[in-house]
């Protein structure tokens, strides 16, 4: 399904079978699986954290924070809390993102090995995989694989004779986009509503049940066994632009070949769109794209040579996010697309802080008015106001500022299209 005949090194996906079944423990071991864990257990926890830091690995969930740095914030001295947690965030719910699903359904042991190594690095005695309900196949894959890992002695007491004990459990969530935010996720794991928590204290000091906790994304953790096996230098060289590693990139919308590909971090948007996604579908022209899920700023034709890594996409005025592009074509209304996104974010707001709870439905209502021909001239100013009103720092968590990214960039790049809706008293795309 996702196979391509190129010579690019693909540590995360090269062994995935693409036949709807996942690698069993035996199959995973035959590809070198769990050798990273064996090697890691010969190292000190601090050495592992340093190695991951040196590799340049950054959080693949969207925020892009250094994984090694995150781990180093955990106190592993003798005075530290004995009970610490590691949580794998498998709550993939960012609109337009479908990368973690592929790793979960195809190679669950790779994730489990990454979690165990991470747990050892921060000396966590317990780990959770926080999985969204809709990923049923992934749930089956993880349930079976966790049992296999316990039976083989990779989990539980005195793992591989190292003296290190750690347990792991699968938590299947019951909806809400908010659960992807790390402190909200911790509340959900405690059986509560997934409202975000104030930071500080950061989860590394006071996380799950008040204990030091690290939350990492699925793709991030799946990289860890390979970094242990092959070293930081190797990982850095995988990327095109020096940020380290490969990245799962995807494309959806009216392109010829929507799909998902593991590619060197830092390939250009043009390569992704034209070489991998096959360019626009017949009869459709490119108008713009969201580079990394629903909560990233639009980019245009003039940005197609931007390298898809954290620094370059930020410089172009957007975010790498999840690396899965959503393509807008000329026959799809940009205002309608932003309306769909803002309606989603309004629905998914947890309601905890006022700007988000009140502001997002307001923007969704205005966008709906524009789409149905009842928009007024002042509406664009009100939309503009909201992009500042819900800017970073004005809300409790990143949901609303993320929601404003497609809106603020659409107002900038597609202003004429917004104005047409007002002047024509209808959506020009919906005649």
């Amino acid at each position: 399904m996702y196979t391509l005949n190129d010579n690019i090194e693909k540590p995360l996906t090269q062994h995935i079978k693409n036949d709807g079944s996942w690698l069993t423990l035996k199959e995973y071991e035959s590809t070198g699986g769990y050798s990273g864990l064996k090697k890691a257990l010969q190292m000190t926890p601090a050495e592992i954290t340093q190695l991951v830091m040196d590799s340049g690995l950054k959080g693949r969930g969207g925020a892009g924070f250094s994984t090694g740095k995150k781990w180093s914030t955990i106190d592993i001295s003798e005075n530290a809390s004995e009970l610490k947690y590691l949580v794998a965030n498998a709550d993939e719910m960012e609109p337009g993102s479908f990368k973690d699903r592929y790793l979960l359904e195809g190679n669950p042991h790779q994730l489990i090995e990454g979690i165990i190594i991470g747990a050892y690095a921060i000396q966590a005695s317990f780990s959770y995989v926080f999985l969204r309900w809709a990923y049923h196949l992934a749930g089956e894959a993880l349930t079976q694989s966790l049992q296999e890992a316990y039976d083989a002695g990779y989990l539980g007491k005195n793992i591989l004779g190292s003296g290190f004990n750690t347990d792991m459990s699968l938590h299947i969530s019951v909806g809400r986009y908010m659960c992807g935010e790390e402190t909200a996720l911790l509340n959900a794991l405690e059986g509560k509503r997934s409202n975000p928590r104030a930071k500080p204290p950061y989860p590394s000091n006071s996380g799950l049940f008040g204990k030091p906790t690290i939350v990492n994304n699925v793709e991030t953790l799946s990289n860890v066994p390979h970094i242990i096996n092959n070293g930081a230098e190797w990982f850095l060289k995988l990327s095109k632009t020096g940020e380290g590693g490969t990245k799962l990139y995807g494309a959806s919308g009216k392109v010829k070949k929507p799909g998902l590909w593991e590619l060197p971090l830092g390939i250009s948007l043009r390569e992704l769109l034209e070489d991998y996604a096959g360019g626009m579908a017949d009869g459709y022209q490119f108008k713009g794209l969201l580079p990394g899920g629903g909560s990233t700023d639009f980019l245009l034709e003039e940005h197609l040579d931007v390298a898809m890594d954290y620094a370059s996409v930020a410089k172009a005025g957007s975010r790498l996010g999840t690396g899965t592009i959503i393509v807008l074509d000329d026959k799809t209304c940009p205002v309608g697309m932003v309306h769909n996104l803002e309606r989603f974010f309004a629905q998914e707001s947890c309601g905890w802080c006022t700007p988000c709870r009140e502001g997002l439905p307001w923007t969704a209502k205005i966008l709906n008015a524009l789409e149905t021909g009842t928009g007024k001239a002042d509406d664009l100013n009100i939309l503009e106001f909201h992009t500042h009103y819900m800017a970073p720092g004005n809300t409790f968590c990143a949901l609303a500022p993320g929601a404003m990214e497609p809106l603020q960039s659409a107002l900038k790049y597609f202003k004429a299209d917004f104005e047409m809706h007002i002047h024509q008293h209808k959506c020009p795309w919906n005649s």
Binding site: G96, F98, F209, L290, I326
Partner: protein, 158 residues
Amino acid sequence: MKEKVLTSGDISEIEKVYEHFPLRSAACIEGLKIVQKNHRWVSDDAVKELAELLEMSPAAIDSVATYYSLIFRKPVGRHVIMVCDSVSCWIMGYEGILNQLKDRLQIGYGETTIDDRFTLLSICCLGTCDHAPAIMINNDLHRDLTPDKLDAILETYK
């Protein structure tokens, strides 16, 4: 005396969950999931009984139950259809799928067919955007949909 909703089987399943947590209330979401798995939905009486079991108030249980979109506080049919209405499915024309479903089943979002067979709901991005538009029926993912494929799919859910 009024008959209880939670069976002894439900209760022992829920007890097994909270034994692992420092507080019984931490098993709230798991408890709701167990009730729903065994009873299809979570009734007011089930909320009250769960509250007693988890040493919480019914209001505290309900605040969690009504927050999570996949906990059903109203009765649902034998099969729950969830239509992805997020951005990639929107671009690829999920509205045609939704309209066909509404037309065939003669129900809207949040409603159940008279024969108790189907309930229609929306769901957040299903994470299969390269195969949009997509829906889930119970635990099954159906993707690369066109309206004309729906009749044959619905037929398999009795």
